[in-house]
Structures are given as structure tokens and as C-alpha cells.
């Protein structure tokens, strides 16, 4: 079984459009939506949820106001400024380390579990899908990504599928790392803008830090052909293969508004190019 993660330094580069198109092209894949903070993939794939699993992330401190004498020892010990002057826990700031509970002379504080979201296994018109939703203001997204990937692997075994297609989160933080660690290939989708190039360098840096082979796709390459050439040069210099270039086109927006992948929406020029992109990636994965 192979694993492929589609990533982009920033959101809005067309990453999900491309990942959703791949889902409709791959014959034997399980889809894993690892963009657990603000996923969009489900709007196109419309998964039918088969099972949901509660996800408990970090714990959170809770003060028993009856026992508390207001001495303030916990507040002074907290490294995250999560306890206010009037000894209330700010649940958004609390990291659940447990120091306050340890230092409290009255035993007024305990750590309680918090439900941080849920993970789901679903069925889509393109095959099984693992996804999740992180509750508002929750951290631990890296942990939840790991849960989604584990679920996807299990689905692949159960349904005898040979590819896990992962839609990664934006950024370079813990959830990105969790979504690319140990995969066979990442596809970085980028745009030919000054900031696009900057983000691409950072994200390829993360991939190479974890020794993961990468390919690049330049989306909307014709918005700035000069910058597109800069990206191509950069890839050449660093021995990274260009998987393809896609032009600026309104097909993706139109397809999205119809809740379809570009492949389903039209078999025009743009869709053909996406198919070409997919062929290049398949070759690399199989090779």
C-alpha cells in the first residue's frame, strides 16, 4: 500500500480541488482528509458517515471553587498564564500540563478530559474515506491527523485498496508534519506568486527534513510566467520533479459550485491536464 499527501504552503492554491480530482481518478484508493481544522473536501465528496469515534485530545484543568481558598499558588506556577487573578481557568490558554493541580495545597484542581472533536469513517462515490472534525479552539490537531491516517490505513486493508490519498493541511506545523511523516510521496501545489515561491521553499524544506520524496505542481502558472520559470528552476536545482502545470481557468470554481470534481464537471482542456498530472504521479508512485 502506498501513501500520497497533497500539500500546499498556503490554502487557496487549489490543493483540495486537485486532491478531489485525484480521488475521482484513482481506481483503488482510500481518501484521507487530514485538513482537520477547516476541511472542504467533504463538500465535494459528500461522504456518507458510517462510523464516528470521539477524539479526546489534551486534558484541561478544572478548579473546584468550593475548596479553593484563592491563595494564588496555582496562578503563579502556571507557565501559560491560563489562570486569572480571580483564579479562573482560561480553557483556551490551558495546555493541560497539570502543574496547577500538583501545586495546589488544597487539592482543589483536577485535570478533566475534553472531547476535542471526532473522527469518521465514511463511504463516498469514489470509495472509502477517513476524515475528522476538530472542535473549535482545540489544539492537538497533529494527534487527530494521526488518528485519521490510522483509520485510512485500516480502511485500505479492509477493502483491499492499494493507495491512501491524503489531503494535507496548510502550513508547516504539527498537523502538516503528522500528515506527511512516512508517506511515499508528497505533491506540493503552488502558485507562481512571490509568496507562493516563499511558501513552497518552506514546505519542501519540511518534506526533505523528513526525507520524503516530493513533486511539484504549479497551479495558475500563466498568471505570472516569469515566476513559474523561477519555480521550475528551483525544482531543477534541488532535484525535485515537476509533476505538471495548470493554467488559470474557471473550471475549478464552476465545478466546485456544482459540488463536483473537475473531472466529473467537464472533460475539457483543464480536466485533461489534471489527468496528465495524475499519470505522472502514478508513474512516480509505482516506479
Amino acid at each position: 500500500m502506498k501513501e500520497l499527501t497533497v500539500i500546499s504552503g498556503k490554502g487557496g492554491t487549489g490543493k483540495t480541488t486537485i486532491a478531489a480530482a485525484f480521488a475521482s481518478l484513482a481506481e483503488s484508493a482510500v481518501i484521507a482528509d487530514c485538513d482537520v481544522d477547516a476541511s472542504d473536501m467533504h463538500l465535494i465528496l459528500k461522504p456518507e458517515i458510517i462510523e464516528t469515534m470521539d477524539f479526546t485530545g489534551l486534558k484541561v484543568a478544572s478548579i473546584d471553587e468550593i475548596i479553593c481558598t484563592g491563595c494564588g499558588i496555582c496562578r503563579d506556577a502556571c507557565k501559560f498564564d491560563a489562570i486569572s487573578n480571580d483564579i479562573r481557568i482560561d480553557v483556551y490558554a490551558c495546555e493541560g500540563c497539570g502543574v496547577c493541580a500538583y501545586v495546589c495545597p488544597e487539592g482543589a484542581i483536577s485535570l478533566i478530559e475534553r472531547k476535542a472533536g471526532y473522527a469518521c469513517n465514511s463511504e463516498t462515490r469514489f470509495g472509502p474515506m477517513a476524515h475528522a472534525r476538530l472542535g473549535i479552539a482545540e489544539e492537538a490537531s497533529g494527534l487527530l491527523v494521526a488518528v485519521v491516517r490510522e483509520n485510512a490505513r485500516k480502511l485500505a486493508e479492509k477493502y483491499d485498496r492499494n493507495l491512501v490519498l491524503i489531503d494535507g493541511p496548510p502550513g508547516t506545523g504539527c498537523s502538516l508534519i503528522a500528515s506527511i511523516k512516512g508517506v511515499d510521496l508528497v505533491l506540493a501545489v503552488t502558485e507562481p506568486s512571490v509568496s507562493g515561491i516563499h511558501d513552497l521553499e518552506r514546505i519542501l524544506g519540511v518534506a526533505s527534513h523528513f526525507n520524503i520524496p516530493a513533486m511539484v505542481c504549479i497551479n495558475k502558472y500563466d498568471i505570472n510566467e516569469k515566476n513559474s520559470r523561477v519555480i521550475e528552476e528551483y525544482c531543477k536545482e534541488h532535484g525535485i520533479e515537476l509533476a505538471g502545470k495548470l493554467p488559470y481557468d474557471d473550471t475549478p470554481t464552476k465545478a466546485m459550485m456544482q459540488e463536483m470534481t473537475v473531472i466529473e464537471y467537464s472533460d475539457g482542456e483543464f480536466s485533461k491536464m489534471v489527468k496528465g498530472l495524475w499519470e505522472n504521479i502514478k508513474k512516480k508512485l509505482d516506479g
Partner: protein, 289 residues
């Protein structure tokens, strides 16, 4: 300045807004992918290392009792029968392990996880101070960097925080304590969905907000209809414009080439002030004063 997803034009709006108004500080809180400075053409200099404390264990004192690893909520310290391992990337620097160690075998040292940078000079001819944070590659404690970055905010100025995408901790850390939140959204299926998630967050935090619709002519009117029914002010609409897109790809803020926009951003600030004043008046009325 927030948005559910990246790529909605939030950074573009933040930069152009900051360039259009007086006496302003702009903070790039997207410390995983900071890129505001690319549009400002400013040279940055490091002003601070963001450090967290990580434990180091004195092996001559440690008797491998395992109290520290039992305490650590983040599995950042592991005790084997005759060895002890610390995983710095997992450590949140809470200080608990040293607290519980009966042998006083644990001390802390600083570990840099990122930096805070400041523009060397103010943007050309403008009254703009710029700060940004950058998380080191491979690090995970995004909010820790944002917290340090926000300390440079000067209350006497108009302060704009350009938040990272998403709806999780880093976004909350960025927008908390703000007087007002501008949400930038695209009028598409994805854009609308992301907007709803972000509105949920901002409402939970109790911050007054308004919407800017970017590329207002590419999708449909679902965002506008929603705002109308919910009584959410649409502060500004920016049509999809190839010239703006081209300037963006070159890293050029569009107000510098399209001066008519400057005036619109000044009006934007006025609109926000009016909204805040009327909400305050409303609150006072509700409180019965």
C-alpha cells in the same frame, strides 16, 4: 484579520489596509508561513528569540524513579530501567517534571523554537511599523511564538493582526483581545463553509466583526444573503481583478498602483469605528444605563 482558509486574500487586504491608514502597526501572526513582508518590501531584523524551557537531566542524581515521566502529560520524557530520554519537540515547557523530581535532578535550559522580527525601517513614506514571527521548521508550538509576537503591540496605535488560517489554537491566540475582527471570505462553496466556521469561533470569543468579500464576482451571492439575514455588516467588496492578481503575484500591494483604493480603506476604518460605537451604545442600553 481572519479567514477560515488561506488564499482568500486576507494578507492582501491586511497589507493594503495597513498601508492606507495612519499610525498603524501590522503583525504577521501566520508564523508557520509568514509572508506579509514580501508585499511590503521591507528588510527584517531579528529582535528576539522565542525560547521555551526544556528539561535536562543530571544523570548522576537521577535514580530512574519515573516520577517525571509519570507526570508529563505530553510524553516528552521517558524513563527506562537505566536510562532517561527527553524529547524536546514534544515538551511544552510546563516545568512540572522538575517540580515532582525528588532528587532535584532536573534543570531547564532554553531552546529556541522561533524568532520575532521587526522591519528595519518604516514602509516608504508611510507610518507603518511591521512585526512578524517565524516558527523554526519542524517545530510545533505555533501559539507560543504568536504570544511573544503580540507583546509588541502598542495600544496607542491602530494594531492589525494578520491571523493564520484555520479555526484552531493559533487563530484564537491571534485574535483574542482584539476590539474588532475583519473576516475575509470568498463567495464560493468552500469560502462560505469556511466563513461559517470562523464566525463560530469569533462569536465564541465575543468579538464584534464584519465581512470583506473578496473576488466578489466569482461565485454566487450566498455569503451576502447570509450576512443580510444574520445582520452581519459587509464592510467592503473587492471584485476579481486580473490587475490586482498580477500585482499580487509580483508582490506589489495594489494601493500603491491604484490610489482610489486607499480612500476605500480609510472609509473601512471609519465604518468599523461607527459599528463599534453603535454596538457599545446598544450594550449600554441593554444594561439599562
Amino acid at each position: 484579520m481572519a479567514s477560515g482558509k488561506g488564499g482568500t486574500g486576507k494578507t492582501t487586504v491586511a497589507v493594503n489596509f495597513a498601508l492606507s491608514i495612519e499610525d498603524v502597526q501590522l503583525f504577521d501572526c501566520d508564523v508557520e508561513e509568514p509572508d506579509c513582508h514580501l508585499f511590503l518590501g521591507l528588510d527584517l531584523e531579528k529582535i528576539e528569540d522565542v525560547n521555551i524551557l526544556v528539561p535536562i537531566v543530571d544523570r548522576t542524581k537521577c535514580d530512574f524513579c519515573g516520577k517525571c515521566s509519570g507526570f508529563c502529560q505530553f510524553n516528552a520524557i521517558a524513563v527506562l530501567p537505566e536510562d532517561i530520554l527527553v524529547f524536546p519537540a514534544l515538551c511544552h515547557g510546563c516545568g512540572g517534571c522538575a517540580l515532582v523530581c525528588p532528587k532535584a535532578a532536573i534543570v531547564y535550559k532554553n531552546r529556541s523554537i522561533g524568532i520575532i522580527e521587526k522591519a528595519k525601517e518604516k514602509a516608504k513614506g508611510e507610518n507603518l511599523e511591521f512585526y512578524s514571527g517565524a516558527l523554526n521548521i519542524g517545530e510545533a508550538l505555533v501559539s507560543a511564538v504568536i504570544k511573544v509576537l503580540k507583546k509588541y503591540a502598542d495600544e496607542s496605535k491602530t494594531v492589525i493582526f494578520d491571523a493564520p488560517p484555520g479555526t484552531t489554537c493559533p487563530v484564537i491566540t491571534s485574535v483574542r483581545g482584539s476590539d474588532y475582527c475583519i473576516l475575509v471570505a470568498e463567495p464560493t462553496l468552500f469560502g462560505f463553509h469556511d466563513l461559517l466556521l470562523t464566525i463560530d469561533v469569533i462569536k465564541k470569543l465575543g468579538i464584534p466583526f464584519g465581512i470583506i468579500i473578496n473576488r466578489s464576482d466569482i461565485g454566487d451571492d450566498r455569503v451576502e444573503k447570509y450576512c443580510e439575514t444574520e445582520g452581519i455588516p459587509v464592510l467592503m467588496k473587492i471584485r476579481h481583478d486580473r490587475e490586482i492578481a498580477r500585482l499580487y503575484s509580483e508582490g506589489i500591494p495594489f494601493v500603491s498602483r491604484m490610489p482610489e483604493w486607499r480612500e476605500k480603506f480609510v472609509q473601512l476604518l471609519d465604518k468599523i469605528r461607527v459599528q463599534l460605537a453603535s454596538e457599545e451604545a446598544g450594550n449600554l442600553k441593554e444594561a439599562g444605563t
